[in-house]
Amino acid sequence: MSLLDVVDLGIRYAEAEAVSGVSLSVDAGESVGLVGESGSGKTQTALAIMGLLPDKAEISGSIRFDGSEIIGANERQLDRLRAERIGMVFQDPMQALNPYVPIGQQLRRILLRHGINDGREADQRVMHMLDRVGLADPARQFRAYAHQLSGGMRQRVMIASALIAEPDLLIADEPTTALDVTVQAQILDLLERIREDTALLLITHDLGIIAGHCERLVVIEKGRLVEEGPTRKLFSEPQAEHTRKLIDAAPRLDGATPAPPEAGDILLDAEEVSVSYEEREGRQQLHAVQDLGLQLTAGETVAVVGESGSGKSSFVRAVLGLIPMRAGRVTFLGQQLAGPVKARAIEARRDLQLVFQDPAGSLNPQLRVERIVAEPLTVHAPELDAKTRRERVIAALQRVGLDESLLGRFPHQLSGGQAQRVAIARALIVNPRVLVCDEAVAALDGSVRRQILELLRREQESTGLAIVFISHDLAVVRSISHRVMVLYLGRLVELAGGASLFGHPRHPYTRALLDAVPVPDPVSPGGKLSLGGEMPSIISPPKGCAFHPRCRYANERCRVELPRARLVGNTQVACHRAEELEL
């Protein structure tokens, strides 16, 4: 008998069926992956196992944990089960931790429920647990509050709190989705290590994560079971169409990068851009971006890549004029763009457009799709009459693969992918020369992400659009980037053509980012942990090369002297040892 047996699970809400006929089992000590796109019912399934579904959900079928039925169990039984047998890790650790109670106290409270009343013993067990999940200096973290920890550290605390009761089963619901790639690799590595004692049910939309960390896979689509089986077999011979689609949609590091476009005119030229924020009312300067430059030619895509806090968003926003620059010079087709975007000429504003990460936030919730997409026309082509304008809007929607039935919808009536297409349609309707995408596909499912990237590439081929694509994930940008620019703590680390950056990275940080990418291939799954620690605070950056505390090749010189970006081969790289290192 398995540890967890879910048979023919169905979850209904008043009008909608969330899950139907899902069966899965987890044996003691086994790791099982539950894979599906957003809205497929994977989180609902997890909540049902924990007995956490709201009362209005109608549940059918059976969920047996170690022989006892969970559906219909009373609150007391469920409480015991959750406290002692099943642990859960949520996607967003900030929301799952109490901001007013120190981390150590929160973990101690869990132990108290287990009858450990001796304060010293409880403290020791908490420290031991914090140490086990890889938090340096547990004694200090014991007294820390959630907001004082980084995202990765918080997720470690969450895992510690789920494990401290020594459960038999750990359910992790998208545990790394909110984290940077390098931190993701660390958390996955941690989950791998703790698996000696507990079974793991890993819920995710990312097949790359699953490939290296789960023995068995269960694929669901729209609340229904699609396929299940051993990971290797599912990857090598997927039976269901949907499984194949998921595998194809996962970003990979192999395959071709696009050939560089013919050398065109330089459209956008940013030189030595620096951005600073004032902290604590001017007493502290925070240098978010320092001396960054970028030349963009027509028909070219440049990816700007780095972990969160690397300054990638600040850089492009300063170039666009959304935030003030401390120093630097930006020209567009030879004309200088100065000052905030509000002060720039209307014509200049037409040629540079931005697509935001969160499509829901970048569309006015009170306006219908038609008016949202038409807005740039009312500014840049006020002479159009209502009929022509409407035709142009419909044409723009068709360009991004939407049809006119959406014209009357409000943004909240759109799916994530549709909303992002509307945002792109709004940006493209005035035919800009440069499109900046700020993590524009990070919040989307794999298959939708691929469609959007494909759409951008088509658009570029037909109109010669230049694209600046910001992402924290190298695998995502691989298929569309002609050049890639890697940032670390506001400075350029490496800038090279796609093929050479992915093939021969010159900087240890680029190498580490590449290694950290989980690849959907169970034989060589990637996601290697070649980078420990986390990005240092930008308020007090390390002396010398900012990367040296995490760099395994660092020597004396790296600790004292700031490396300047220079040309090595065809790569611009900021590393003292770029020539000698074989990465």
């Binding site: 959304l322 935001f356 740039p376 500014v379």
Partner: protein, 264 residues
């Protein structure tokens, strides 16, 4: 939404009632002083110490109360939204100065302010509206300013700036529509506040003047006769409480409506 229905009902009766009743608003019926409510003699709510019909007087009181409530809310709405949105959108030093002014007004004791006004300008129906509106717009301005500040940072406003939409257009097309929800909710919640302040002023004798009346004034008259003619206190007081409750429920209902629309 039941509250909305009840409110409409009360308003309708208050408008039509005095026409239908055989009794005059001011006519004193000295044969029927302090009559308990009876249906047969057409004094449905009884009469007061001057023999005036209470039903008609109460309905006139409700009319005055509604007028005060609506005018005061509109005054606070117009001043509050314009002031708050300007402060929030312009920001910086202008914002700081404007909001410190609000703080200063907040710190002024309201009752002294009203008494002062009434002493200087003598009693005036209009003055009560002004006084009440002048109090309520402070809250409205603060709320609208806060909302505008957070809307300004939203990505769709940045997107509009990038497109080249002009500042007034951003305020009217992008910021104002997103303010409407919270403003409507807040207005429905200021109405009972205005009614309460008016009743309170009338109760103190600072409000509307005889022979005009309002619910607060009726309650005040009722207290004098509380021992012998309890209906004079109970009827207007109950009506006042019912109106206040209805407006509060309506406000809550509005908030739920707009919240759900914005989040989902």
């Amino acid at each position: 939404m039941v509250s909305g229905g009840i409110l409409c009902g009360i308003a309708l009766v208050a408008l039509v009632g005095p026409w239908l009743s055989p009794n005059e608003y001011l006519a004193a019926d000295f044969d029927n002083i302090l009559r308990a409510p009876t249906v047969s003699e057409a004094h449905v709510f009884g009469t007061d110490h001057l023999g005036r019909d209470l039903f008609v007087r109460t309905m006139m009181g409700v009319q005055v109360t509604f007028v005060v409530a609506i005018v005061a809310s509109v005054v606070s709405l117009v001043i509050g939204v314009l002031y708050g949105a300007t402060a929030g959108f312009v920001g910086g030093r202008v914002d700081a100065v404007m909001m410190r002014l609000v703080d200063t007004l907040y710190a002024t004791p309201f009752i002294f302010f009203v008494i002062l006004l009434l002493v200087v300008f003598e009693r005036n129906f209009l003055l009560i509206f002004v006084a009440i509106g002048a109090i309520n717009w402070l809250d409205m301005a603060r709320i609208v300013r806060g909302q505008t500040l957070s809307l300004r940072e939203r990505e769709f406003v940045q997107a509009a700036e990038l497109i080249g939409v002009s500042a007034p257009r951003i305020i009217f097309r992008h910021i104002a529509p997103n303010l409407i929800g919270i403003v409507i909710v807040y207005v429905t919640l200021t109405i009972p506040q205005a009614i309460l302040i008016e009743s309170f002023l009338s109760f103190l004798g600072l409000g509307v003047q005889e022979p005009q009346t309002s619910l607060g004034k009726l309650v005040n008259d009722g207290i004098d006769q509380m021992g012998g003619a309890s209906w004079m206190l109970l009827i207007p007081a109950t009506l006042l409480a019912a109106i206040l409750l209805c407006f509060n429920f309506l406000g809550d209902g509005m908030r739920d409506l707009f919240d759900s629309r914005q989040s989902r």
